[in-house]
């Protein structure tokens, strides 16, 4: 049977593996957090995997992304080492930030991952800078900033949209609209009827896609990234999403409608949707996907085991890395 999808099978498998890795990573953190094993604030990305992976499938290491407080998905999709991430979240010396950053500050600049961020909207200016650097250094890299529906009302994001438009930067503004900012609905907090209107107000095109549909995201992202690479400037891309867990671990989620999470798990699960599409098209078999599931499960088990076994950073680390010199 021929492949009706815009990616070859290898890449479809890769996309699935990435999404599944994110999902398992988050599900596992949820369990281990409840057990009291994870320090600090943890914001889980589960439910939104198709957005991160659908976009990141188009990117190279030279392309830059800036992530949010809900950053694990972006990191994994951009290729950050899963074991180093897990160790970081456990605060271990083997973590990708040597234990100094934690969940909210995972970064790997060598892969173009400019950092999760504890400050809403902070990534938008940074990505304008990365896009400017691409322009000035004469390479075709793009910069993508992710932000939530809540953060879409931060001045930094809004200013950056104008900046990117007037400088015609290869920058993309991805609103991950999961309907909530903490417990507050997007309907309460965001005045415009549509993010496309907001894009227009800043002189750039805006597109809204179903963030749960990997292929819709992949296609829309491909188009806006291509435009950016070709010098046609920035775009706003709204991806409609659902958040399976609470705002952060420990959130009782009473602001959600009764049964909302269960409904979303049953009907709005981007992984199930992906599995259904690729198996129904006969491009990938259930057992191929199951095999990936098993590998991912093992990877996460190993990541947790290694994180637990890893040493904590020693006190001599307290004052290193403040300055280059």
């Amino acid at each position: 049977m021929s492949n009706p999808f815009p990616l070859p099978k290898e890449q479809l498998l890769d996309a699935y593996r990435k999404m599944k890795t994110i999902r398992d990573f988050e599900e596992r953190l949820h369990v281990d957090f409840a057990r009291g094993e994870i320090p600090g604030f943890v914001h889980l990305y589960a439910g939104e995997e198709a957005t991160a992976v659908g976009i990141m499938m188009h990117l190279h290491d030279r392309d830059r992304i800036a992530s949010t407080h809900r950053g694990h998905g972006h990191c994994i999709a951009k290729g950050v080492d899963v074991k180093a991430m897990m160790a970081e979240i456990y605060g271990k010396a083997t973590g990708c930030c040597a234990g100094k950053g934690g969940s909210m500050h995972i970064a790997d600049l060598s892969l173009g991952m400019m950092g999760a961020n504890g400050i809403l909207g902070a990534g938008a200016p940074l990505v304008c800078g990365a896009a400017l650097a691409a322009q000035k250094l004469g390479h075709d890299g793009v910069g993508i900033t992710f932000f939530g529906d809540g953060a879409s009302n931060q001045g930094t994001v809004l200013e950056s949209m104008n900046l990117a438009a007037i400088w015609n930067l290869p920058a993309i503004f991805v609103v991950e609209n999961n309907g909530y900012a903490e417990s507050t609905s997007v309907d309460y907090a965001t005045a415009s009827d549509s993010y496309v209107d907001r894009a227009t107000g800043f002189g750039m095109p805006g597109i809204t896609v179903d963030g749960l549909d990997f292929f819709a995201v992949y296609e829309a992202a491909g188009e806006v990234i291509r435009r950016a690479r070709e010098g046609a400037g920035p775009t706003l891309l709204e991806c409609k999403n659902v958040r399976f867990f609470g705002h952060f671990e420990g959130d009782a989620q009473t602001y959600k409608a009764p049964g909302e999470n269960e409904y979303n798990r049953a009907n709005n699960d981007c992984l199930k949707l992906f599995r259904q599409k690729v198996t129904e098209a006969g491009v990938i078999s259930e057992s191929e996907l199951d095999a990936i599931d098993a590998e991912v499960a093992q990877l996460i088990d190993e990541a947790v085991a290694e994180a637990i076994a890893a040493p904590l950073p020693g006190p001599e680390q307290l004052t290193t890395d403040v300055y280059v010199n």
Partner: protein, 335 residues
């Protein structure tokens, strides 16, 4: 009769009582009610740690959830304060001041002076501060020196539930802009807190523990650790006075100077970073105004000049401990 409640409940009670007393007192912030526009429960959060839980039910017109636009809503609180309201704006973490500082330091703080005395800006900006929550570099700062440096602001950082209630009520009734910093690690700490409203005046330090041999000056979470240090030192027969500043601006230097005149030895303990800190501020003033009383070098105990690390092992080493404070006191006794 003792009524032991947590600092978190003390904050809630102060807000509740002031909103009842004065309908122009309003509170705004992100998810301070919770669930705005959503389909589930009303009053779903009461702030990120539930501090304002229940206030919406009692004061529905005085509790306002905001979008994630700190410049706009903190500025709106300031503007409203010049127009007949007495707003309490909650900035979830003081670390977020970077996105709205202008409204605080160039607007609220300077109106009265720039306008030749013609403005009053009775606004309170409440925020969580401090380390120990494994919340890393962008959610754990003190930043007390930043605000203390700025003329026109008042800066409060209580160390316990009793003070917290009285200082918060004072902050709300005060006619100047007040930065009110609640250490997140102290929310669970309890004290005997009277039910009726009361105020604690600004600029009056509290001598938490009297002593003859040395003076420790501090505030916030470090008060408890300093008292612990004093207990440790007691075992060695060292008798330490511990002063809780309570408000950093205005600051009660008289109490500090008097104490140093008596003890001759000073240790300044600060959870803020060392450079241009509150510790430095006090040490400098004492070195100027009570120099002759000093029998030994002043010592400062602070975290290092580094951001707050995430890992528990590092964060625990970062925040001054009772042992480090005690060691500093011992050092002043060497002279």
């Amino acid at each position: 009769m003792a009524r032991i409640i947590s600092m978190k409940d003390a904050v809630n009670e102060a807000l509740d009582q002031e909103m009842t007393r004065d309908p122009t007192v309003i509170m705004m912030g992100e998810d301070i009610v919770g669930g705005a526009g959503a389909q589930g429960e009303d009053d779903a959060w009461g702030g990120v740690l539930g501090v304002s839980k229940g206030l919406y039910a009692k004061h529905p017109n005085q509790m306002i959830d905001t979008p994630l636009s700190e410049s706009a809503y903190v500025g709106a609180a300031i503007g409203a304060a010049t127009a007949g309201l007495r707003p309490v704006a909650e900035l979830m973490f003081i670390d977020f001041i970077g996105v709205c500082l202008d409204q605080v330091f160039n607007q609220a703080a300077k109106f009265r002076y720039m306008f030749g005395g013609k403005a009053e800006t009775p606004v309170v900006i409440r925020a969580m501060c401090g380390a120990g929550f494994r919340a890393a570099a962008q959610h754990s700062q003190m930043l007390t020196p930043l605000f203390t440096h700025i003329p026109g602001l008042k800066v409060v950082c209580p160390s316990n539930a009793y003070d917290c209630k009285g200082l918060l009520i004072q902050a709300i009734r005060d006619n100047d802009p007040v930065i009110f910093l609640e250490h997140k690690n102290l929310y669970a700490s309890t004290a005997d807190v009277p039910e009726e409203p009361y105020t604690i005046p600004f600029g009056e330090a509290n001598i938490v523990r009297e002593g003859r041999d040395a003076t420790i000056v501090t505030y916030g979470q470090m008060v408890g650790r300093s008292v612990e240090a004093a207990e440790l030192l007691k075992k060695d027969g060292v008798d330490v006075e511990v002063i809780d500043l309570r408000t950093l601006s205005p600051i009660d230097m008289d109490t500090v100077l008097e104490s140093v005149e008596a003890t001759g030895r000073l240790v300044c303990v600060d959870e803020a970073n060392p450079r241009c800190s509150i510790a430095a501020d006090i040490a400098a003033t004492v070195a100027q105004d009570a120099f002759d009383a000093l029998k030994a070098p002043i010592r400062m105990v602070t975290p290092p000049h580094a951001p707050v690390p995430f890992s528990p092992s590092l964060e625990d080493a970062y925040v001054p401990s009772a042992e480090r404070i005690a060691a500093a006191v011992r050092k002043t006794l060497e002279n």
